[in-house]
């Protein structure tokens, strides 16, 4: 029973990072209509910004979540201006190939810059990198452990999600984004600056990935190869939720986080399988119910 609760807790805490990464990607796919295979590379960049700011400048990663978000927002706008913009109205295959090329480029650039060191983790660990032990029935052996850092990250992620939904619902840029998503021609007729909306939406999209990256650098060791896996996981979650279903992304992230955690715990040699299972789920969802599992 304790193991089961521990599995659920770990899965839920992990899902916060999936939520903001995936909502970011969902904005790129849904609003800008860019199928961005380089999304995870921006997460990787965010992770390294968080790491470097902490190691060199001593800035707490929790603050870097905002800083990295802002830096990568501008990086995203530049990327959009010099490349993505030009393939917006070309066949899908061009978008896939271009963003895949950007992914290869960024990830190998990071690999060259990182040099021989295979992975990086914060040293010394921030003060909140410890675990609470909670005893359920007063027996010390049967407790569950909650990582404080993971808990904080989950709360911050939820805060970002709520803030984002607020922006989408109530602000001018948020309303423009929703209008463009529904009908970009109609939106431009009623005076929405579509070009500018695309630019900002793409910036927000990758900034969310970068924030998730900073969160990751607190709790796991990071490396130049980490991005692509997250691109795929984010696509997996989008497909599970159904394209264009932002709220569904939250449920799908939660489901995927818990499944991953369960496979890692219950299946022998589990951690090796858990990524594979993740992708197996994408295949199954695509085959059985390609419109997504969650109601819009």
């Amino acid at each position: 029973m304790e193991t089961f609760i521990q599995v659920i807790v770990n899965g839920v805490l992990q899902s916060g990072i999936y939520m903001i990464t995936t909502i970011g990607l969902a904005i790129a796919v849904g609003i800008v209509t860019i199928i961005n295979l380089s999304h995870g590379e921006f997460l990787m960049i965010g992770a390294f910004i968080g790491y470097l700011f902490y190691q060199i400048l001593g800035i707490d990663p929790l603050i870097s979540i905002v800083l990295a978000g802002m830096i990568v927002f501008f990086l995203g706008v530049v990327t959009y201006e010099v490349s993505m913009k030009k393939v917006l109205f070309t066949p899908e295959i061009n978008q896939l190939i271009l963003t895949f090329g950007i992914s290869i480029f960024l990830h190998n650039l990071a690999k060259i810059l990182a040099g021989a060191k295979p992975s990086f983790s914060l040293h010394p660990e921030p003060a909140y990198s410890k675990a609470w032990n909670i005893n359920l029935i007063g027996d010390a052996k049967l407790g569950i452990g909650i990582s404080v850092a993971k808990f904080i990250i989950f709360i911050v992620a939820l805060g970002i999600v709520i803030g984002l939904f607020y922006i989408l619902k109530n602000t001018k840029i948020g309303k423009s984004m929703r209008a463009v998503e529904q009908n970009r021609y109609g939106a431009s007729v009623v005076g929405v600056n579509v070009v500018n909306t695309f630019r900002i939406a793409f910036g927000i999209s990758v900034a969310l990935a970068a924030s998730a990256g900073v969160m990751l650098c607190i709790v796991v060791s990071i490396d130049p190869h980490m991005g692509f896996g997250y691109t795929l996981k984010a696509f997996a979650i989008i497909m599970m939720a159904g394209l264009g279903n932002l709220k569904g992304v939250l449920w799908a992230s939660l489901t995927m986080g818990i499944i991953e955690s369960a496979v890692g715990t219950y299946v022998p040699g589990g951690t090796g399988w858990s990524d594979g299972v993740f992708f197996l789920i994408i295949l199954i969802v695509l085959i059985v119910k390609p419109e997504g599992l969650f109601k819009k």
Binding site: F105, G272, G276, L286
Partner: protein, 318 residues
């Protein structure tokens, strides 16, 4: 006139390139390090053929990331049957492996190719990663990361291996040209430009896509086997390798998508470039692949072949 120039260009390439390919071993035998040059040749033909197979599917507008999976599956099915359990000879194991791979491709195609291109791309990417995980984790059958050591075919003769890959590439070039001249060329182009219109004019979209996906994946599987039996050793990292898929994609894009000659030219340029670069830098030469993909898609969407045709046309009209 456009068609004439194109034909002329192709003729020049075919005759000149063909002669160079066939005579190269004779020229190289005078040089020091002959086997090094012949191995580069083998790599060029391997990757060019891989890219050509990938391009044949791309002609329908589908980006497949499953080709590395079939490359790996082809190598592993055959290696397991022939070497690990030694239940059959080399050639039968290759035939069984090819049949298995094409059956898997057929099944995967049936379920994923009725979806939009994005779904197909992600599903094939997922497929490759699942297969990679399975090959690594099922170490009882596959030896896991320890890999399988294999005998080298053709008596380890570099010349024979070189010509073997040349012949296979030639066969796939013929297949690709046959497809280009058949009714499928029109069907694929229509599907790529606009699926709805293609459907209206009576093209069975799913059937045509599944057919070419199965054939194209089968070629990747064969290449995986040839790679396995000419490299002495396979493991999951070297066969179920997304980088192979990246190279195939970059080669086809650089040379020129939707053509036979494009991937072949792209293969020559990129493999030689990679050889040169990997002598200069240790890691990250894949950076160049990324850069090539980005620049070509943005500035030269028809690739080197398109550029060549463009220049040739300008010359003629002036």
């Amino acid at each position: 006139m456009k068609i004439e120039t194109k034909k002329q260009t192709e003729k020049i390439f075919m005759i000149g390139g063909g002669a160079l390919i066939l005579l190269f071993p004779l020229l190289a035998s005078g040089l020091q390090g002959t086997s090094y040059f012949l191995t580069i040749g083998k790599h060029i033909f391997l990757y060019a053929t891989f890219a050509l197979a990938w391009d044949m599917l791309a002609r329908t507008g589908q980006v497949s990331f499953a080709h590395p999976a079939f490359f790996g599956l082809g190598a592993y099915f055959s290696a397991i049957l022939f070497k690990k359990y030694a239940v059959m000879g080399l050639i039968p194991s290759m035939i069984v492996s090819l049949i298995l791979c094409m059956a898997i491709a057929f099944a995967l195609g049936i379920v994923t190719l009725r979806l939009k291109g994005l779904y197909f791309a992600i599903a094939t990417l997922a497929f490759t990663l699942v297969m990679q995980t399975v090959a690594t984790q099922l170490d009882g059958v596959t030896n896991g990361t320890a890999g399988i050591t294999l005998p080298v075919i053709l008596g380890q003769n570099d010349y024979a291996i070189y010509y073997f890959f040349v012949i296979f590439m030639g066969a796939i070039i013929f297949l690709s040209e046959y497809v280009q001249r058949s009714k499928y060329h029109y069907s694929f182009t229509a599907i790529r430009s606009n699926e709805e219109v293609a459907k209206v004019v009576g093209i069975d979209i799913v059937k045509d896509k599944v057919l070419i996906f199965t054939v194209s994946s089968g070629i990747a599987a064969l290449l995986g086997m040839f790679y396995a039996y000419t490299s002495n050793f396979i493991d999951p990292a070297s066969t179920f390798n997304l980088e192979i898929g990246t190279m195939g994609l970059a080669i086809a894009v650089l040379g020129g998508l939707y053509s036979t000659i494009g991937p072949i030219i792209g293969g020559f340029i990129l493999v030689v470039l990679q050889e040169v670069l990997s002598n200069i830098v240790d890691t990250g030469y894949m950076l160049v692949y990324g850069l090539v993909i980005i620049l070509v898609i943005l500035f030269l969407p028809k690739g080197v072949v398109g550029l060549w045709n463009h220049i040739a046309e300008k010359k003629k009209s002036s």
